[in-house]
């Protein structure tokens, strides 16, 4: 049994070390100026392990160096979702937006700004804590500790209510997307031969609407421009598969 535990721990340690080594290799490529190679390795890490704020930040930096501002903004936006409190990610995002000329971003309201201080994952952990406190409330009630039951129950309800509202507010962000093509062509109808009615530069933030075949209906945050764009030209900030 001890051998099995030791083997498991050894495998876990080996996997962790391998991840760290791959990340270090990608960083070394970046430092050497091989930005395309570094970006590819960061993408591979994300695909293999799942989303990490640090990897996304470095990926955004690599795309920035390559001049692909659309992908850079997308990577930084995703990093910000996972680590909203990081000043470095916020500064990088601001810089690349200025370079891309993507100045117009949807301004969040006060509640959205408050909810954005934590990632959605943390709010959902608070919700889970509230859910698990409910049977504790019931147990205290059963054991005749009514004042304690009231306090715990109130805490549970407040935690659940706040977390639900924050998660709901952050869910709206799943509709946001970034234009990655330079530029993206806006069409009147969702097919390739439809008449073009305009373009959007890379890095522009849009709201995703209905999807038909390989086209998304999008609107700019100020709602002055709307049309259909190919799904290759725009990417949602929250990936569909969550990775």
């Amino acid at each position: 049994m001890n051998k099995l535990i030791a083997l498991f721990i050894g495998l876990l340690a080996a996997a962790t070390l391998a991840q760290a080594a791959d990340f270090a290799t990608a960083n070394a490529d970046y430092q050497a100026g091989h930005f395309a190679q570094a970006a590819e390795q960061y993408q591979e890490l994300l695909k293999r392990d799942g989303p990490r704020a640090a990897v996304l930040q470095n990926l955004g930096s690599a795309h920035f160096q390559l001049g692909d501002y659309g992908q850079a903004i997308l990577a930084f936006e995703r990093a910000k979702l996972l680590d909203p409190g990081s000043a470095a990610i916020a500064a990088d995002l601001k810089l690349v937006r200025e370079r891309a000329g993507a100045f117009h971003v949807a301004e969040p309201d006060r509640w959205q700004a408050l909810a954005a201080r934590w990632p959605a994952h943390h709010w959902s952990l608070l919700l889970l804590a509230g859910v698990l406190l409910l049977p504790v409330t019931g147990g205290l009630w059963l054991l005749r500790h009514k004042p304690a039951a009231w306090v715990v129950g109130l805490c549970a309800v407040v935690a659940m209510g706040t977390a639900c509202a924050a998660i709901r507010s952050l869910e709206i962000k799943t509709q946001r997307a970034i234009v990655t093509a330079n530029p993206a062509t806006l069409r009147l109808s969702p097919f390739a031969t439809a008449e073009s009615k305009g373009t959007l530069p890379a890095g522009s933030e849009v709201h995703l609407g209905k999807q038909t075949k390989a086209y998304h209906h999008i609107k700019t945050p100020d709602a002055t421009t709307a049309g259909w764009v190919s799904e290759d030209e725009v990417e949602p900030i929250v990936p569909k598969d969550g990775k």
């Binding site: 991840q19 990340f23 960083n27 430092q31 050497a32 100026g33 091989h34 930005f35 392990d49 989303p51 990490r52 640090a54 990897v55 930040q57 470095n58 930096s61 160096q65 390559l66 001049g67 692909d68 995703r78 979702l81 996972l82 470095a88 990610i89 500064a91 990088d92 810089l95 000329g101 100045f103 990632p119 959605a120 994952h121 709010w123 959902s124 952990l125 889970l128 859910v131 698990l132 409910l134 049977p135 409330t137 019931g138 147990g139 009630w141 059963l142 005749r144 869910e171 008449e195 073009s196 009615k197 305009g198 373009t199 959007l200 530069p201 890379a202 700019t220 421009t225 929250v238 969550g242």
Partner: protein
């Protein structure tokens, strides 16, 4: 036999009743070029076949339908058919319409020739687009043909990227059933067709005496490279033609009126047809010369726009600060290839840093050749001062053969702050891969990978809903158990239950005594039952006077008999015990139970 003779005579009478003749009349003997007059051909009787108008050069003839008239005068029926045509020309001159021949009942009739004078008009259709100038070629096939015209004014050449409006017409004979399998397309790779009209126009034309259904599209033609190329368009159609191998449909014999109008015209519907895919082409393809754009005089910011353009509106803020982005918007109208018209730049260009913005094009014609394009983009001023701001762009005018630089009206703007000329960014091109990192302004790279996170809340996980539901259910169970226990341990409830038990026991004692004819025992137990039911506290100490208001007269009498038996030694007959038992039970049903303290 007699019936047949009568029918023959009747048909002869009817044929004699027809007034047979033919007349042709023009609504007006003259018209302006580009205008038309109506030619009415009136046939008295029933022509063997629809009349065919003779062809006259430069004279356009379009059918305008037929009308029929039947009348009974003095018992005689007469019938006439009127064929209407719109006739005109775009070329001024004198036109002689020859006699029109029509066969009626096998005999040929003809009209007098007609003369039409076409005067010159100021509203003539631009040269090259008139219907009369169509090189109406003989059809290359029985299914129709294609023609197109290019509006290029006097210029016989075009430039790569220039969009030239074209009109494409497909002619289909009236007696064929044609289905279009697609829109017209250029034949070959030298040219591209743009913005073809979604809904082509339909009409009818007569060429060489034959009537055609004409479908007309408008679009833009552009060439991809310099050279001389034949310009041709093709249209794919599916035609339904009579099956040559099928048996001919037997037509019914003519009826007694000898009139094709009354004959069975549905015979054609049963004719066996087959489908045939056909590609219609132009008979003569003109060779178009595509010249390279001149290199001399090409402005630095030229984006490839060819046509004629001008500013329609410009909007700039009047106050701004160096290094701070401002929103500029402009609207450019004109005609040409708007797709290659880039956003205007603020002038002088070296004092501004501009960013790609969004654009929107609104066409004003069916081929999207003319229209207006709106631009919205951000720019950062680099040099402070109170100065004039203009927006500018350049295009190539194909008619003049030269580049034109357009500047907007000047706007007085006030730019505050320090000069940022040294901070002007590199041109917006993909930077080359360099050996050393060039992102000093970016935050340093993260050295540690950090934990794996999730974009979405765990509420999306499949296990969350069952956990939340289980937790809620468990909570409800705990709370329900607590409430149930509290109810069980309630002292008032316990006392109430005990009082009921004692009352039931006393009632049972009374019933037993009644069965055993124990008169004193019955009345004693009955009185106890009434006490327990009525008295709140210490039921054994309650007297009749205290609770007489709550008892009925029968119950009070029961109580008095019990007291007399207890205290006076009186006796009561045992035979009355069932009666008193009934009184007791009916009283218990009317008196509500009250709480009794445990003694």
């Amino acid at each position: 036999m007699s019936t047949r003779i009568l029918l023959f005579i009747f048909s002869m009478l009817l044929s004699v009743a027809y007034g047979e003749g033919i007349t042709a009349q023009l609504s007006s003997p003259s018209a302006e070029a580009g205008q038309g007059v109506v030619l009415t051909l009136r046939v008295d009787g029933s022509p063997d076949r629809p009349p065919q108008l003779p062809t006259v050069k430069n004279l356009i003839v379009n059918t305008r339908g037929t009308s029929q008239n039947m009348s009974f005068i003095n018992g005689k029926m007469s019938r006439s058919v009127a064929y209407n045509y719109a006739i005109g020309s775009n070329q001024p001159g004198e036109y002689l319409i020859p006699a029109i021949k029509v066969k009626i009942n096998g005999m040929e009739y003809q009209t007098q020739p007609l003369k039409l004078t076409v005067r010159a008009s100021a509203n003539a259709v631009p040269q090259g687009m008139e219907d009369g100038d169509d090189t109406a070629t003989k059809p290359q096939s029985d299914f129709g043909f294609v023609e197109f015209q290019m509006l290029a004014n006097e210029r016989k050449h075009i430039y790569p990227g220039e969009i030239v409006p074209v009109r494409i017409k497909a002619y289909f004979p009236m007696n064929t059933r044609i289905n279009l399998r697609g829109n017209p397309r250029p034949d070959g790779s030298a040219f591209t067709l743009h913005n073809l009209s979604d809904r082509p126009q339909q009409g009818r034309e007569q060429i060489d005496g034959k009537v055609y259904t004409v479908v007309t599209w408008f679009g833009g033609l552009s060439a991809t490279k310099a050279g001389k190329y034949p310009a041709n368009f093709v249209v794919d159609v599916t035609a339904q033609v009579p099956d040559p191998n099928a048996m001919p449909v037997r037509r019914p014999r003519p009826g007694p009126f000898n009139d094709p109008f009354f004959d069975n015209n549905f015979a054609d519907m049963f004719q066996q047809m087959i489908e045939k895919d056909v590609t219609l082409k132009c008979q003569n393809s003109p060779v178009v010369e595509v010249r390279e754009l001149p290199t001399q005089g090409k402005p630095e910011g030229f984006t490839g726009a060819i046509g004629e353009f001008a500013f329609e509106a410009v909007n700039v803020p009047r106050a701004m600060g160096t290094g701070e982005p401002v929103q500029l918007s402009a609207r450019v109208k004109g005609s040409g290839n708007f797709a290659l018209l880039g956003q205007p730049t603020p002038l002088p260009a070296d004092e501004w840093k501009t960013y790609a913005g969004k654009d929107d094009f609104q066409p004003t014609d069916i081929a999207a050749f003319s229209g207006a394009k709106s631009f919205e983009f951000s720019a950062v001023p680099l040099v402070p001062g109170y100065k004039e701001l203009r927006l500018g762009f350049s295009y190539f005018d194909p008619n003049k053969g030269e580049y034109i630089e357009v500047k907007s009206e000047p706007f007085q703007v006030n730019i505050t702050g320090e000069s940022k000329l040294h901070e002007k960014a590199e041109p917006e091109t993909k930077p080359e891969v360099v050996k050393t990192p060039t992102g000093p302004q970016l935050a340093p790279l993260s050295e540690k990978t950090g934990p794996v996170c999730s974009y979405r809340a765990i509420t999306h996980e499949p296990w969350f809903a069952p956990v939340a539901a289980g937790s809620g259910l468990l909570t409800l169970c705990f709370i329900a158990a607590g409430i149930w226990r509290e109810r069980r341990e309630d002292p008032e409830r316990i006392a109430r239950l005990e009082a009921r038990a004692r009352e039931a026991h006393a009632l049972h004692m009374a019933e037993t005594a009644a069965k055993q004819h124990d008169v004193p025992g019955f009345f004693s137990a009955a009185r106890d039952v009434l006490r327990m039911r009525v008295a709140k506290d210490a039921p054994n100490a309650v007297t009749l006077d205290e609770i007489s208001n709550e008892l009925s007269e029968n119950a009070r009498e029961l109580w008095r008999v019990a007291d007399r038996i207890d205290y006076s030694g009186q006796e009561a007959p045992a035979a009355e015990l069932p009666h008193w038992l009934d009184v007791l039970k009916s009283e218990l049903q009317t008196i509500p139970a009250k709480g009794a303290a445990h003694e």
